[in-house]
């Protein structure tokens, strides 16, 4: 049954209880809603320090001066405006499954975008396949959510993946570090793990949502198969039996375990989502438990 990208009203009301959080402290222009570990203009008290020439007199703790006759300056946590970027894989492999992984990704992305929009965050939705597509910037409150849905609905799965090129383009296009949510099946040729790790090394906080159709992990077929790559169209004939299936699943599990380790090692987050899992369970379960993107 096809999954509608439109989220119903009750579900949206439940989403308003969530918020997008990140662990890292990013520098950025003032105006955000989450404190950073850096000092700066903010409302949350951080520390006192000696007054020095040029400091803002409005920050002097006058009570302490009257008691101690020393000019002490109050220092606050900085609350920078951090960009939230959500990369959605629209390569051909996302069209596999029933419902397809892309349909599921659309729902998930729209739900996360709604959480951010409601909190007056600015969400940049960036589709990608072999390269980065045109982004869509959402922000400014819940009344700006409808264009997000329209943008996500128009996305179609096609073309091959090229993580290396995508990462390179991303690094060149977005210089300011921030929260990066990647919704993908991460199927690509080559060492895609290292490519995605480059983004973490550049300072972005990686939140990897690994989508997997049921047949991606446990192929249901048996016997002689002519398998076709959904992205490249390449075909291959092989005999598939229970033994081969077990080996396949083991390799697949090792594949996503590597992603999980990479994300955690780089202060990021990782969640594996089977597309047969209800979206509500993912948002209020897996994503919340890991203290990840939505909590």
């Amino acid at each position: 049954m096809a999954v509608s990208p439109i989220i119903d009203k009750k579900f949206l009301e439940r989403l308003e209880r969530l918020t997008l959080r990140w662990r890292k402290s990013f520098a950025g222009p003032i105006g955000g809603h989450q404190v950073a570990r850096f000092q700066g203009a903010g409302q949350e008290f951080l520390d006192h320090r000696q007054f020095s020439q040029g400091d803002d007199l409005r920050s002097v703790n006058w009570r302490a001066y009257m008691r101690l006759e020393k000019l002490l300056l109050k220092v606050f946590h900085m609350e920078p405006h951090i960009p939230i970027r959500m990369m959605v894989d629209v390569s051909g492999s996302m069209g596999v499954g029933s419902p397809s992984k892309l349909e599921y990704a659309k729902q998930l992305a729209s739900a996360l975008a709604y959480v951010g929009v409601v909190r007056l965050e600015t969400i940049q939705i960036v589709p990608f396949a072999s390269t980065l597509h045109e982004e869509f910037v959402a922000g400014g409150g819940r009344h700006r959510f409808a264009p997000v849905v329209d943008f996500l609905t128009a996305m179609k799965a096609s073309g091959p993946s090229n993580a290396s090129q995508v990462v390179r383009h991303f690094a060149n296009r977005y210089l300011q570090r921030g929260l990066l949510i990647v919704i993908s099946d991460f199927f690509d040729e080559g060492d895609v793990l290292a490519e995605w790790q480059r983004l973490a090394l550049l300072g972005h906080e990686l939140n990897l949502i690994h989508l997997s159709a049921a047949e991606d992990r446990n192929p249901p077929w048996q016997g002689l198969l002519e398998i076709e790559d959904a992205e490249t169209g390449e075909t291959r004939q092989m005999h598939f039996d229970d033994e081969a299936r077990a080996k396949y699943t083991a390799e697949f599990d090792a594949f996503y375990k590597n992603f999980e380790r990479m994300a955690l090692r780089n202060e990021g987050r990782y969640v594996f989502v089977d597309t047969t899992t209800p979206l509500e369970d993912v948002l209020f379960g897996a994503l919340g438990h890991m203290q990840g993107a939505a909590s």
């Binding site: 492999s93 996302m94 596999v96 499954g97 992984k101 099946d185 199927f187 690509d188 040729e189 159709a213 047949e215 991606d216 192929p219 249901p220 077929w221 048996q222 016997g223 002689l224 198969l225 002519e226 398998i227 076709e228 790559d229 959904a230 992205e231 490249t232 390449e234 075909t235 291959r236 004939q237 092989m238 005999h239 598939f240 039996d241 033994e243 081969a244 080996k247 396949y248 390799e251 697949f252 594949f255």
Partner: protein, 644 residues
């Protein structure tokens, strides 16, 4: 019921071919399944290298076994597999039941046909179980009542419904047909004839001696039958209304004295008594007169075995002559002509325009016309101006007149120089036929239609042509063409259905006479050494036409046989044996067909390969599959689906 009835080798061969095809299809079906996956990343190191030809390996042997078993069971059902069938080798017989005209005979009040039916049914019950019989009802034509049948009830119903026909038995055709039917069977049995042995052939057919499997169940009787063989009515020449009826009476029995009565319109008009010897045909003429149309009945006042051939009926047309009105200013010219032909009754009128009398059947207008258009066939002689036949005057003296050979009006006339004197060349209309012409100028025209009209541009009675022999012939041909519907046939006869020989109707050209039945349909006519012949399978009135000549044959009499067939003692089957009582081998085909269907349905249910179902859910064996199917149908999953 009958199926392929394959032999063991044929069955094994067919089974082998089917199994080979199934196995080939099995491998082809499982050769490969095309699936689309997200990535080939994890599909590289599987067992494909260890099984370079995996399609040669049977993956679902239970499915293959089920399909093979199902198809073999269906094939065995089609082959009509029987247990212990060799000891019960069934035979195919042909039962020829005589339904000829003389099977209408009654002896002591009991119809011979009923005795024949009883004998035929007794013979059927004497056959071993499993034997098949083809029933052939035979008179002049052998007609099978169906196919080779094993069911006695069906055969008895067909025998009971048989009725005798109007034609005599053509024994040679019946036995040849039976032999041909058995020649196509592997288990040929007997040809059994049940009947009176009176046949239409004059000579006993040779096929009776050639058949070694011929058995005869005779229906004997003390034959005593006098019959009307033929009745022929001919109009007497120069005696208008006079008829002579030639009645031929035959006798199949002891010599008899036969009163013959001829009546017209239920009134006796002639009678005589004939002495008819045994196996002879006697013909007697009976004369009567009538000018009116009606039915002539011939009756033999005897009580014999076949009643239907003691009466004959034929319809005679009116023969009182044709009323001809001649409109002429010189009636004397025509007087001699009509005095020579008593069939034409003339009346003369001299006024112009000439009014037509109410009883006029033919109008002759000699240089005059009528005040109004008439519906009477008309002969125009030198039609005046303003009529339907315009012309221009000409003097035809010693001119060569050509007659149209295709027209019946000019039949018997030959081209020659005639002194016609003053004549008119006529202008033909689009549908006119030119009868005579002089140098391309029409001199005589025939205009078919209602009424038919003929126009002569000359007057043969007013010119030198009146001395020609051809002049009366021209008048006769013209009158006959104009009033052909009112002319009497030259002969009426009553005969019997079957093959009818036409004698004395040959013409110079050798064309076949036209034979029309009651409905006006043409009956095929064939040429034989004795003359033209046609076959009338059903009784009725047939018209034979050859040019202007016509005969009417009323084929209402049953055809009388011509000879009696005496089979050999070996062929006679006077004692019909009782049935053997052995049980026939049991038919297994319903059970085999059911088994085959069950196997195929089980394969379809348990190993359905149409969908992309979960391979783990596929059962490893039919027994596991049955358990799973039952569980799905009645277990928890079914309850969940139904909200229980």
């Amino acid at each position: 019921m009958e199926f392929l009835n394959l032999t063991l080798f044929q069955l094994l061969g067919a089974a082998g071919a089917v199994a080979a095809v199934v196995v080939a299809l099995y491998f082809l079906d499982r050769k490969r399944r095309r699936v689309k996956v997200s990535s080939l990343r994890f599909w590289t190191e599987t067992r494909s290298e260890r099984h370079p030809l995996p399609q040669r390996r049977i993956q679902q042997p239970w499915s293959l076994l089920l399909v093979l078993l199902g198809l073999l069971a269906l094939l065995a059902a089609l082959a009509d597999l029987r247990w212990n069938a060799n000891s019960f080798r069934s035979l195919d017989h042909v039962l020829v039941l005589d339904t000829s005209s003389w099977m209408q005979a009654r002896e002591n009040g009991a119809p011979l046909m009923d005795r024949a039916k009883q004998s035929a049914i007794r013979y059927l019950h004497s056959l071993p179980p499993g034997d098949r019989v083809l029933l052939v009802l035979s008179d002049a034509n052998p007609v099978p009542s169906g196919t080779f049948e094993e069911d006695l009830a069906v055969l008895e119903a067909a025998i009971t419904g048989a009725t005798p026909g109007n034609t005599a038995l053509q024994l040679g055709e019946a036995l040849s047909f039976a032999r041909q039917m058995l020649a196509e069977r592997d288990n040929a049995g007997d040809i059994v004839f049940v009947g009176s042995r009176w046949i239409a052939e004059e000579q006993i057919p040779g096929v009776t001696r050639e058949l070694t499997n011929l058995r005869v169940i005779p229906i004997d009787a003390q034959w005593r039958n006098v019959y009307i063989d033929k009745v022929t009515l001919q109009p007497r020449e120069r005696d208008t209304g006079g008829w002579t009826a030639y009645v031929s009476v035959g006798n199949r029995g002891p010599a008899a004295t036969v009163p013959v009565q001829l009546s017209f319109g239920s009134a006796p008009v002639a009678a005589t008594t004939l002495q008819v010897p045994s196996d002879a045909v006697v013909t007697t003429p009976l004369e009567f007169r009538t000018g009116a149309a009606g039915w002539v009945d011939v009756k033999l006042d005897v009580a014999d075995m076949v009643r239907r051939d003691n009466n004959a009926r034929v319809e005679v047309p009116r023969t009182g002559g044709v009323h001809v009105q001649v409109c002429t200013k010189d009636p004397k010219r025509f007087t001699t002509l009509f005095q020579a032909s008593p069939g034409w009754i003339p009346t003369y009128r001299a006024e112009s325009p000439c009014s037509v009398g109410a009883d006029t059947e033919l109008l002759v207008l000699d240089g005059v016309t009528t005040p109004t258009t008439t519906n009477v066939p008309t002969l125009w002689i030198q039609p005046p101006d303003g009529t339907a036949f315009p012309g221009r005057s000409a003097n035809v003296s010693d001119a060569r007149v050509s007659w149209n050979p295709a027209s019946p009006i000019s039949e018997g006339l030959q081209a020659g120089e005639l002194a016609l004197g003053n004549a008119s060349f006529l202008t033909p209309a689009s549908n006119d036929q030119v009868i005579a012409e002089v140098n391309g100028n029409a001199l005589a025209l025939a205009r078919p239609g209602l009424p038919p009209q003929v126009a002569w541009g000359f007057n043969p009675l007013a010119s030198e042509m009146r001395f020609e022999v051809s002049t009366p012939l021209l008048f006769a041909n013209t009158f006959r063409w104009l009033v052909s519907s009112t002319s009497a046939p030259e002969e009426l006869s009553v005969g019997s259905a079957g093959s009818v020989l036409i004698s004395g109707m040959d013409d110079d050209k050798g064309d076949a006479p036209v034979v029309l039945d009651d409905s006006g349909a043409t009956v095929p006519v064939s040429r034989t050494a004795d003359g033209w012949q046609f076959f009338a399978g059903q009784g009725g009135v047939y018209h034979l036409r050859q040019g202007h000549r016509e005969r009417v044959i009323s084929l209402t009499l049953p055809q009388a046989p011509k000879s009696f067939w005496e089979p050999t003692q070996e062929q006679m089957l006077t004692q019909i044996a009782a049935a053997s009582g052995a049980e026939p081998p049991m038919h297994w085909w319903p059970w085999l067909a059911a088994l085959g269907l069950i196997c195929l349905i089980a394969d379809a249910l348990l190993f359905d390969r149409r969908g992309q179902g979960d391979a783990d859910a596929k059962p490893a064996s039919p027994f596991a599959g049955i358990t799973q199917t039952v569980h799905q149908l009645f277990g928890r999953e079914a309850k969940k689906r139904h909200g229980i």
